[in-house]
């Protein structure tokens, strides 16, 4: 199968990194097509960033769909534009936050989330509510590590991240940790070894869910909310969306 793995940030470093994470754990016959949009912010750390990245990302969804990919993964912890993407796609669209919450809930009674900037906290809480996992989460902790600082992680940044995970376990009662940024994808195993609880990275979680849906022949329902939009005119820089 072909999985389009979309980094909605435009920073190529993170795209390369998550491609490696995905390729390491995917099935032999899974092809990972990792992309980021041509347009938009280098990193997504506030609502302005996310609003713009969401619109830009839809071009990538349309491209993958045209190419016949079997699943799309939105590899930003805010799961941006997931509803719009599902309207455009017949293939399933999986956000990494939703994917991580699902697997975390299978191996723990309550999990904690450790993320990047404080101002992404409301977005994380919104997703916990949207997906219905708020009562299973012991809290969301911000490290105030900038997304781009995750490209080449220094020892002090790593320590900061581990310390926050440990606080989630010891102070909040987390029994597992969800990493709240695609840029942390390569650290899950190391932190899990250190803290002795399951540590879930949404990127690889989403890859396995995509493969699962594919094996079961499950694709986005086109009945109701995610039906293909009917045609209309778009203007200016979105003219190519006119249908």
């Amino acid at each position: 199968m072909k999985i389009q793995l979309i980094n909605p940030n435009t920073c190529q470093g993170m795209t390369d990194k998550i491609a490696v994470s995905a390729q390491t754990i995917c099935l032999p016959d899974t092809e990972i097509i990792a992309r980021s949009p041509a347009h938009g912010p280098e990193s997504i750390e506030c609502a302005v960033d996310e609003t713009i990245a969401a619109a830009a990302m839809l071009d990538v969804i349309a491209q993958g769909e045209a190419e016949g990919v079997n699943a799309h993964i939105v590899a930003c912890f805010g799961d941006p534009a997931i509803d719009a993407a599902r309207e455009l796609a017949k293939a399933p669209v999986i956000g990494i936050a939703g994917a991580a919450f699902q697997l975390a809930s299978l191996v723990s009674h309550k999990f904690g989330v450790v993320t990047t900037m404080s101002r992404t906290l409301p977005a994380a809480h919104h997703l916990l509510h949207r997906y219905g996992y708020h009562h299973l989460c012991t809290g969301v902790r911000a490290t105030d590590i900038a997304v781009l600082d995750l490209e080449h992680i220094q020892a002090d940044v790593y320590k900061q991240l581990v310390d926050e995970c440990r606080a989630a376990i010891e102070q909040d009662g987390a029994e597992a940790i969800v990493l709240g940024c695609a840029g942390m994808s390569d650290l899950a195993n190391e932190i899990s070894s250190e803290l002795q609880v399951p540590v879930i990275d949404g990127v690889v979680a989403a890859v396995k869910l995509a493969e699962s849906l594919h094996a079961l022949n499950l694709t986005t329902s086109k009945s109701g909310q995610y039906a293909t939009p009917f045609g209309k005119a778009f203007h200016g820089r979105y003219q190519h969306w006119s249908r």
Copy 2:
């Protein structure tokens, strides 16, 4: 004061219509600057439309802010990009759905919402939850009238709308009606006369709330979630957002 009244749809007809609604009820010294984005869909009727319109609308927010407007109104019932707009603006940003819910709750125990297309129902429910008004709403009813058909309303479309409002009152127990599209702005008084309950249009509700905040010198808090984003690079067609 200057109020920037934004129609996030690119259809000029609706922009003109809501400008008239706003000017009819604003204070003598309020200036209404009605605009729609240069880019994006003619009408917003699904998540794809809304995702693209949201990004396009931020340019208008930035323009108004640069001009020193005293309030921004987002005149689409989905209240798109309201968080991003508040990050960009010092002036208050008011969505018409939120505004309508507020005034409706002051004159009724429970209100009903009557809107356009069925597929916007989840968005309406999401806003009722987000703003905390779900328990005060008797239900959201779709008419399946297309947004652009509201520009010049025909008798049969009007009847369809009134019938749905009457059903909300008689079957659902609504004590007041919130109109779920800016394009219905000119119909509130007529429907209220016919059905003898308060009928709330979010456009004029938002204008009065904007004037209220201005009179009380209340502007968007820049402490916390709505702080101004810090600078970063944007690429491609969003390069002008590089800060």
Copy 3:
């Protein structure tokens, strides 16, 4: 328009003070009629006080309605007897807690409430739930300042109040402050200057909402829950209510 501004406490000092607050910000053609009931407690600080003040206040609602006022404001943060008042009135009835929550939610992501006595905390939480704003509130903090001590505020009391507001911002993450007593009405601007976040006083918020509803010709729905009560006998000191 005529706004009846009701202080449900019988202390004239607070009635005079809120009249000044209202007159300072109302429109030129708004007449403020400030009143307190002839009967009841000097201040409302527990459920017994509120239960008695609620019954006494209905006489004032009836009087204002007979005089043809265009709006009633209930200027006690517990919004006492608001449902009964709406049954009696054709004019809108606005509680100051509800009014403050509405405007606070327009200029912040989450707001804090700072109020008087600890034992009014459950009442404040009840109102946050009733109006649907609980999820937008970072918490309610009591100062244990007595209501009557707000008539002529001393420096130490003022400091106590500001300290609690600061704690709401710094410890709880409040981005705006709602003042939880009509008696604090004259302090909003000063505290806002000092703390650099929006500070909302419910009295002036309610005045602007009353003017907004009036401008839009919106009055209490008489269909359903707030329909005029049908006649029946009342006995003893409530005989004048026999209808």
Copy 4:
């Protein structure tokens, strides 16, 4: 023990009727003191009625407390003034709605409520939320029988009531019925025989709970919310409350 059984309506007929219900099922050494306030509405059927009855009822609570009763029962399904009553009383204060919900939840998975006038429905829903039983209730059905028509029940009114109970069972899935008015107290056994499900009358439920608390030596906590109010001046017809 002495139980003060308060009918907050001023109609003596209902007071006499519930006294009989209570005396029929109380323990041999329980004395039932049935009273209604000297002031207030003949029947409670809207928020105005309830607001006035609530204030009037507090005099009865104070009288009973002075006489040393061991429990107070508020025998109106809206459980009016229950918080204020608990502030005044050392003896427990039990509302009949709360009492009925408790026993109903012990003998059924989900129960239905059948009450009097439609406009009391919001009050019933409010109590279900307040006490936490909303998820255990299949719905509240109004019969639109006036409270005073329950004093001497005619055959057609009885049939109307039974029909609504049957609808609650057959259409809503109720497994037990809570009767939503003290005036229905004498009908519980008959309806239960006819419909073959438990039918709970709050008056007798409250009597048994009052006896239970007394046997266990449990009285209203005076720590926190229900502490005795501190003294202050009351004016006009409430001067006797000055403490």
Copy 5:
């Protein structure tokens, strides 16, 4: 009446102790039949214990039902197997956690729960949600006292328990205390004297509720969820359940 008081733990010491508690406060004509299952864990302190004890306890329910008891009390704070027991029994089945929450809510605005092992906290929270009392609870505090250590309580264990109750009152704002284990049944009065708030033991609470239901002739509804199961084959050690 006959009450079957079931200790789902197999430790006879606790069975004897709660029998004494029950006999001390029951009516003269109430007979207490205290039993524990022949099978299962000595104490219930995790989900494995509870799952096994639940199945074992059903034999005791069936035995009591065959003997014609008038009520069953499940005297373990997790209220195990309460739904299955109600399917089997015509007599009411009362769990001690549910019983304690009901009485606590009649004498306080908010109560705290003090229980044994930390790992029973999720079970306690589950019950608060199931019965609808979560919003009335200030928190659940674990003492990490083992259940069997409650059989003969030493001074230091008692002090630990009282300290936790005091913390619930002073730090969490509890106005009453619910004891979270049947093994604490004999301590309620002593702790209440020391801390001067109501302290509720679920065992005696359940006895009084059982007597209340009996006096009102209320038994488990056999319409719907708690209808008697229809017959089927059971195998192995559960063959005696074949119906």
Copy 6:
């Protein structure tokens, strides 16, 4: 990897059927070990059945764990004893209801559940709440097909099932269907072809989730709620659990 697929019912026919379903879609190197307990009811259709099956099933968990299986699947839609199983197992334990909800939420905005007997509805609703999917479910519909009638499905039973699925889509707005019984496992593809929406069977969903967790090296957290129980005495037929 080895997956222990447990049918908590003792009917061998269903065990064989789900083994086939699982083997059809598992990876080449996955070994399915399908088992049912030696003890307990032939089918699980009420709380008594489930309570007994839960205890019996723990023996199978312990056996699989001793054999070193890499995952356990509990193939009964009530997800019985899932917490106890997780305490016993280091390998992940997956219930089929939870698994089905997860995958359904990835391919639809809202899904419906179609199950067997009416009296299992409360159990299904409980699981939707427990896992946090209630707001994503359009409703649970019972077919009143007995579990054992699913072993060899007749044409009329199949039609009844499809009709109920169609009603969920057309009347309730379901965009995907979750089949509410392991015994329906072999019908998902056929119903999906007929109704043109995704139809999710929990058995195969759980197999793919088990393989996903195994690929990511995620096992049950032993920190907190699911820690291994400490030793204690068990009596009678549960003596083998003494630790």
